[in-house]
Symmetry: C2
Subunit: 393 residues, 2 copies
């Protein structure tokens, strides 16, 4: 197996180029990455080991396992990271004076061990640098996410057929999990942060949507066990309730994030109004979100529409409200930028952002739509194309 498949060499080279721009800006003359997310981003592979990326000279893979790659000059087998500095010197590299380590992605123990490799070097937060590069997708990455969106929509098209009378929310979710998997969903969600425990996504029905959860997702839910207090609670689906489906869209190392709502029987006017309000917010954001727009403006625009409709108390939750309406998405489910009122980011072309203005209506459940978008020069392009109306089961 070759280091990088030949059709991806240019792709990886362009990511390294972008990374070097951000390294320079952050004052790092090397980055050493070991998280699966950043190894995959910088190599198109996942392995146990370290990617060493200097400002000048070829990146080196210090590989622990698996030992399946052709031995090119850029792949060095090691038993432990302590071997890296001597190997770099041997290969003619000058040891770095400021190193980016993945402060947010690796444990304190892992980083402390790595920092001993370069005791003279100034440590810099490499997670921030890598995240900044990952925030702007290449055309190749966007193509992968378009594929994700098509597969996810294809699976969502069959959601209605999963329903059988007297089903619980969890039974409904399990059938959706199965059809996503049969559609090719890898089932494993890479996330950032330590409060993102989840299986393959969230299905919340009725008032369960209003149960606050500890996790950093937008929606709550009691879950079926206190060890995983989130999502479906095992109750039978009932008439007059909504069922919000926000399931895993990862098919190829990237992913899309898409939410749609199903319902049983008629819904009260308030729920229908809130759902339409979510769609109005998306329409407004789609137009205004051109490169250069402050990310915080999307949040402000959403709040303005919500307040205009008198729906503030239901927005982004009711008993507990999430402080954001969207987030970057890519290799990880939660990437940069985060759409909060405090964001200092400006939109850039080829960012990919999930926007999820949602409402929780007591006695009814959650409503609203989530799409994943690409930022283009003229606004947002939706890559999770699927009817947005509430669909009856």
């Amino acid at each position: 197996m070759f280091l990088i498949p030949s059709d991806l060499r240019q792709e990886i080279a362009s990511r390294i180029e972008s990374l070097r721009g951000n390294m320079k800006a952050a004052g790092a003359d090397a980055i050493i990455a070991a998280s699966t997310t950043n190894i995959y981003y910088t190599t198109s592979r996942v392995f146990k080991g370290y990617v060493y990326i200097p400002l000048e000279g070829d990146p080196i893979w210090f590989l622990i396992k698996p030992d399946v790659y052709e031995k090119e000059k850029d792949v060095v087998l090691i038993r432990k990271p302590e071997m890296i500095p001597a190997l770099l010197t041997e290969m003619g590299y000058t040891l770095p004076s400021a190193v980016g380590y993945e402060f947010d992605d690796l444990s304190y123990s892992d980083i402390s061990r790595l920092m001993k490799l370069f005791p003279e070097a100034k440590p810099v937060n490499g997670s921030t640098i890598l995240r900044k590069s990952r925030m702007i997708k290449t055309p190749w990455e966007i193509d992968r996410m378009r594929e994700d969106g098509m597969h996810q929509a294809e699976a969502y098209r069959r959601v209605t057929r999963c329903y059988k009378e007297d089903m619980t929310d969890l039974e409904f979710q399990i059938e959706i999990e199965r059809l996503l998997r049969l559609e090719g969903c890898l089932g494993c969600i890479r996330t950032s942060g330590n409060l993102m425990d989840i299986n393959m996504g969230s299905v919340v029905a009725g008032d369960n949507a209003d149960v606050p959860s500890p996790f950093d997702f937008t929606m709550g839910g009691a879950g079926v066990h206190p060890s995983l207090p989130e999502g479906a609670d095992g109750k039978t689906l009932r008439r007059g309730e909504t069922i919000m489906v926000d399931m895993n869209g990862s098919f190829n190392g990237y992913q899309t994030d898409m939410t749609r709502v199903w319902s049983l029987g008629d819904l009260p006017a308030l729920a229908l109004k809130a759902h339409e309000c979510s769609r109005s917010i998306l329409r407004a954001c789609e137009t205004m979100a051109i490169p250069g727009t402050p990310v915080a403006d999307l949040y402000r625009k959403a709040m303005q529409i919500v307040e205009g409709e008198g729906l503030s108390q239901y927005f982004m939750g009711h008993r507990q409200q999430a402080p954001f309406i969207g987030h970057g998405v890519g290799i990880q489910l939660n990437e940069q930028p985060v759409v909060t009122p405090r964001s200092k980011d400006l939109l850039e072309e080829n960012m990919t952002i999930a926007l999820e203005p949602k409402f929780v209506i007591p006695g009814v459940g959650a409503v609203g739509v989530e799409n994943t978008y690409v930022v283009t020069s003229t606004g947002l392009e939706n890559i999770t194309v699927f009817p947005e109306e509430i669909q009856e089961l």
Copy 2:
């Protein structure tokens, strides 16, 4: 909702007691925990926030969200961890002089932030302390794991029925995932370390078992995409092959780890011999593994049996061999002790250990059995009771 359900107060108190013993031995006069695993272990809940456990005085929950607990004196709502020291002082606590932080469980950024709360205190590795307590289960925890074992076995009983002719390994796995979920499996595996990406476990068939993987599981597999190089590779199941099923046994915050083998048609004698050798290793370990036995002795005994049978080249993998034959299991899939030749641990009563002596036979696939055991005064008690013979599909 109350802080700790009344039937669990004694249980949590006894865990804190055990933890304090290990804190004293490690020279820590307080621990501050924030990982979901250790918050669940020390509180029976999962929340966003921090558990502060001093050597003396009641543990305090510094809770960010969800705000659903009765306001007892031990629950304090905070917005950010920087509020903790002043609150402790206000509550009459002396600030600690040596603090255990979760060095192995939280990111470098998270730990660096926490260490600023107690700038005068000596930092100690709290992950090690917590792991040591978690290694010895309480009777209540063992009961939970017995439940896991029963549910997992109940699901495995229906595995044969999942098979349909010309199925791929992945299609077979998806049906097993579904029946585990319907049996109550939570589907989310808590693990330790950053090379444990997985969905709901592993199904490997034929030579795919011999494909080396970067992850820290015993078995390999190419996976269906380079972003997740592990497990089922999407090939059609074929006659003369084994299908090893090592799927998720987490039903209640704890879990069991159990592997069984299915086959299509007749298998060569070598594969059958290796499978029986795995069972002989388990029988030998079950008897010798009494409290006080060095964990490394289990590994040595296994190697002795394997060498006696002339099967070393297939043991724990063929192209890539795993350096252990078992591991502790509990809230996390991979707990202490790890059964390696270098282990310095002695077995203790109420440890729970998964033993998985496995073989990879080229051209056939993986064979062997994995059970989860409780260490008792007279040896190992198997809590994953299910026929160990290879079952034909």
